[in-house]
């Protein structure tokens, strides 16, 4: 059988096949009667042939999509990943050129018609859930870490779909579906990085024509040479904060100048651009003044989950290289994989990868649930039907969980990715430090994941509010109440105790000073991930009852729960001496 990044990954397949999306897909497909509602849409003919008949049909379609992408990843992209890294994207006279391997990868995406597949049927998409998209992102990232930033910016199309008016959607989205255009998310400026509220780029409305124009400079724009930009700009003259910002669609033309690209540690195939807009024609996307709070936040939440999946993909590649090398490399008269010091690293890597994947899929299902509920509610409103209280309650729950789990996924998966790629190089020993092996490329590529789309430190801030409000209890309580197989009984007792400790820590920080919350927030995130992920792995073991799943849960718990207890000790002690002495220590 030909190499295939989907078929060769049983854990990824398990996640996709078991994803609890029956409710979501039922809503997204309008009770499986989507085709009938589309008579006048441009692609209605196709939709009536594509749209799934039932949930099993939808699942079968996901499998087909993922198998095709898995084959492209294994046969077209991965074999040229080192070349893409070595050549990198280049810049000359305002023109950005992708590495030849990257161009070949993009061509393969286009030919396989896999782009825009999350868009709704009427715009030529396949109406796929976010959860399936995460699996796609992971495979592409495993093949070539930097390529994800080009493939993954389909989020731009999703954001246009969510916020733009009907005319804008109809004119731009089919071009994304046909693979004619790619997108870029244009938020950061030289003086507005983590603090996006201070964006300076100006958008001005010509009252006579009703047209917007954007002026200003943006920096660190991933894949900024893309055709369609979503630009965060100050639309309200004289405003100083986030409430004066709106989101604009700018199609690249001669008014949009790429001034330079960055010379980076990793993801060399992905051009990071500095862009100057001079009176660039722009279309308002979403409501005025809601550019950051609604649009950019929605865009970033999607992108954060995608970056989490990117980190898992790079980690998966690193793990596989390390495992293969450890099996081939012989020292002390035996294969080094049999040395406990080496196998410990490998088992830890594997456990963390599977845990992060479980967390991302759990999060994606809640994000999908939220979006599906929003869509349904909108349909009810349009039809003038009374609102459905059950739907509203479910939406509220999904929204709360997505708010905590998205930053938790980003935080855990990207920090995990760095740990895994660090160990991946370590397993190789000296040769891992050399360019001839892929370990150092993974190590460089993964390093950006816990920085861009909000640093890990920002993810802590994003998750903290609702986490301290015990927002995860709704899931934790249900899991604690469920029964487990005998082999996991002892683990469950321990896990219930650690969960109690986590809840106690939430309460302790809830009443603490703001400085203390921010200082110990990372400890609480580590703890939340360890507890939550162990529950997810226990749940897997309960669902399938496979010996391997049980062993995975036990191995992960053995490594992570003691660390969680250590985090708890630090939080409960609340020793603030470092904060109070920091000025003298750093002097």
């Amino acid at each position: 059988m030909a190499d295939n990044f989907y078929l060769d990954n049983p854990d990824l397949r398990f996640r996709v096949e078991k994803a609890d999306l029956g409710f979501v897909v039922g809503l997204k497909e309008r009770g499986y009667s989507y085709a009938a509602t589309l008579e006048n849409a441009p692609s209605a003919r196709n939709a009536s042939r594509f749209a799934p008949r039932d949930f099993a049909d939808a699942q079968d379609n996901w499998r087909l999509v993922l198998e095709i992408l898995g084959e492209i990843c294994a046969s077209v992209i991965a074999p040229r990943a080192a070349e893409a890294d070595e050549e990198g994207a280049s810049y000359e006279n305002g023109v950005v050129t992708y590495a030849k391997a990257t161009q070949a990868a993009i061509e393969a995406f286009r030919k396989s018609e896999i782009l825009g597949c999350m868009l709704p049927w009427e715009y030529g998409g396949l109406n796929l859930p976010e959860t399936v998209y995460q699996a796609m992102i992971e495979m592409v990232s495993r093949a070539e870490g930097g390529l994800m930033t080009i493939f993954g910016l389909q989020e731009i199309a999703s954001t246009i779909n969510e916020f733009a008016d009907e005319a804008t959607k109809a004119s731009y989205l089919p071009r994304f579906s046909r693979g004619e255009v790619f997108g870029a998310m244009v938020l950061t400026e030289p003086d507005a990085g983590s603090d996006l509220g201070s964006v300076q780029c100006r958008a001005s409305l010509d009252e006579a024509t009703g047209k917007w124009r954007v002026n200003g400079v943006k920096r660190f724009i991933t894949n900024g040479n893309a055709d369609i930009h979503l630009v965060l700009a100050r639309s309200e003259e004289g405003s100083k904060d986030a409430r004066g910002l709106s989101m604009f669609l700018v199609e690249r033309d001669e008014t949009v100048r790429i001034r330079r690209i960055e010379n980076k540690l990793g993801i060399h195939s992905s051009p990071t651009c500095e862009i100057q807009y001079t009176d660039s024609p722009a279309i308002l996307v979403g409501k005025r003044r809601f550019g950051l709070m609604r649009c950019a936040m929605a865009l970033m939440n999607g992108a954060r989950l995608a970056v989490a999946a990117q980190a898992v993909g790079i980690a998966e590649a690193s793990f596989r290289e390390a495992l293969r090398y450890a099996g081939e490399r012989s020292q002390f008269g035996k294969s080094i994989v049999s040395l406990p010091a080496v196998s410990r690293m490998l088992v830890s890597m594997k456990g963390e990868i599977e845990a992060a994947r479980a967390l991302i899929f759990e999060t994606s299902v809640w994000v999908d649930t939220l979006k599906a509920c929003e869509q349904k509610q909108e349909e009810l409103e349009k039809a003038g039907a009374p609102s459905d209280p059950v739907l509203i309650a479910r939406k509220k729950q999904a929204s709360n969980l997505a708010d905590i789990l998205t930053p938790l996924s980003k935080y855990y998966a990207t920090e995990m990715g760095n740990r895994v790629c660090y160990k991946g190089m370590q397993v190789h020993g000296g040769v891992g430090y050399m360019r001839e092996f892929n370990a150092e490329r993974h190590y460089r590529d993964v390093r950006i994941t816990n920085i861009y789309e909000g640093t890990s430190q920002l993810q802590v801030v994003a998750a903290m509010g609702k986490m301290l409000g015990r927002g995860l209890d709704v899931l934790l309580d249900a899991w604690m109440a469920a029964s487990v197989p005998e082999e996991l009984a002892a683990l469950k007792i321990r896990l219930v105790a650690t969960t109690g400790l986590f809840q106690k820590c939430c309460d302790a920080l809830h009443g603490a000073e703001r400085d203390a919350v921010e200082y110990f927030g990372a400890d609480l995130m580590d703890m939340a991930a360890a507890v939550f992920n162990t529950w997810l792995l226990v749940r897997d073991a309960c669902v399938v009852g496979e010996a391997r799943k049980i062993e995975m849960a036990l191995a992960y718990a053995a490594e992570q729960l003691p660390k969680a207890e250590g985090s708890a000790a630090a939080i409960l002690l609340l020793d603030m001496s470092a904060i109070s002495a920091k000025d003298r220590i750093l002097a």
Partner: protein
């Protein structure tokens, strides 16, 4: 201008993944012992036909002769962009050599011309990886009475009823001009076959011959029965036509084993075994002796 193309394809044993018991004592291939694939150069032929259609318009019809399971490569053709596919399947075709095969294919092409109009171009892979004869394409052209261009690597020009083709030869290339209709056999260096399209993969996933309905119903019980499934598929144009010997008006004595003068006389079993490894000393003498041995054994030089 639009051109109507027919592509001849074959499902072949996957010779890259050979296991034991592949050859029967009679010297034919035990097909059930091997996984099957789309004959690689037939994919190049399909790609060339699709490129003509994408550029000039027209239609690509894919034709294969084989057992019911050969519908797999017809579906694959639909996933890659074929407009219409036809399976020639009948017990009477079984055991055909290249003469009987090309006779059946030529009959089928004439039949489809009667249904769908005159064919401008016939494409075939240069040769199949199982028989390696490279005869079926040329023989089909002879039987149709049209010119053939073998070893086609590129269509240099296609204008009205005239084509210029670059042929890949051992020591270079050759340009051949020819009038249509004609038959091309295509080499592997001609192009990079496109991957299956995700959207077409979903659109055509249920495409099936009637011989496959039972299997489909086992996977998709919600259809209820063959009649409902048939109605669903026909409405969407997903039925794959199966033509029998009678459908193509073939003379029975020219088909299958009866119509095949080729008999396999003898099969030699060649077992390639690697000898034990040998260590060469990293000295000038060691290297020199290795080089001499390689030259003596005609491995290099």
């Amino acid at each position: 201008m639009p051109y109507k193309s027919v592509v001849l394809v074959k499902q072949v044993p996957d010779t890259k993944n050979i296991s034991g018991d592949v050859m029967t004592p009679e010297g034919t291939i035990n097909r059930t012992a091997l996984p099957t694939v789309f004959n690689p150069e037939d994919l190049n032929a399909l790609e060339m036909a699709l490129q003509v259609r994408d550029r000039e318009g027209g239609e690509v019809i894919v034709l294969t002769m084989g057992p019911p399971a050969a519908a797999d490569i017809l579906r694959d053709s639909l996933f890659r962009g074929a407009d219409r596919v036809i399976l020639l399947s009948d017990r009477r075709f079984a055991g055909a050599d290249t003469l009987a095969t090309s006779y059946a294919l030529a009959c089928a092409i004439r039949t489809l011309e009667r249904s769908f109009g005159p064919v401008d171009l016939v494409f075939a892979g240069r040769q199949a990886i199982d028989g390696d004869t490279a005869q079926v394409g040329p023989q089909t052209a002879e039987k149709l009475g049209i010119p053939q261009i073998t070893y086609a690597e590129a269509i240099v020009k296609l204008e009205g009823p005239s084509i210029v083709v670059q042929r890949a030869l051992d020591h270079g290339t050759e340009l051949v001009k020819c009038s249509l209709p004609c038959l091309l056999t295509v080499v592997g260096s001609a192009n990079e076959p496109r991957p299956a399209s995700v959207r077409r993969r979903i659109e055509y996933k249920l495409a099936a011959t009637k011989l496959e309905y039972k299997g489909l119903l086992a996977k998709w019980p919600a259809f209820g029965g063959e009649e409902a499934l048939d109605a669903y598929l026909v409405e969407r144009g997903l039925g794959i036509a199966v033509w029998s010997a009678a459908d193509i008006g073939a003379e029975e004595e020219k088909l299958g084993l009866a119509g095949s003068p080729t008999q396999v006389y003898k099969v030699n079993f060649v077992v390639l075994e690697s000898a034990d490894s040998r260590e060469i000393q990293p000295t000038p003498e060691g290297i020199a002796s290795l080089v001499q041995e390689l030259v003596r054994e005609y491995i290099v030089g």
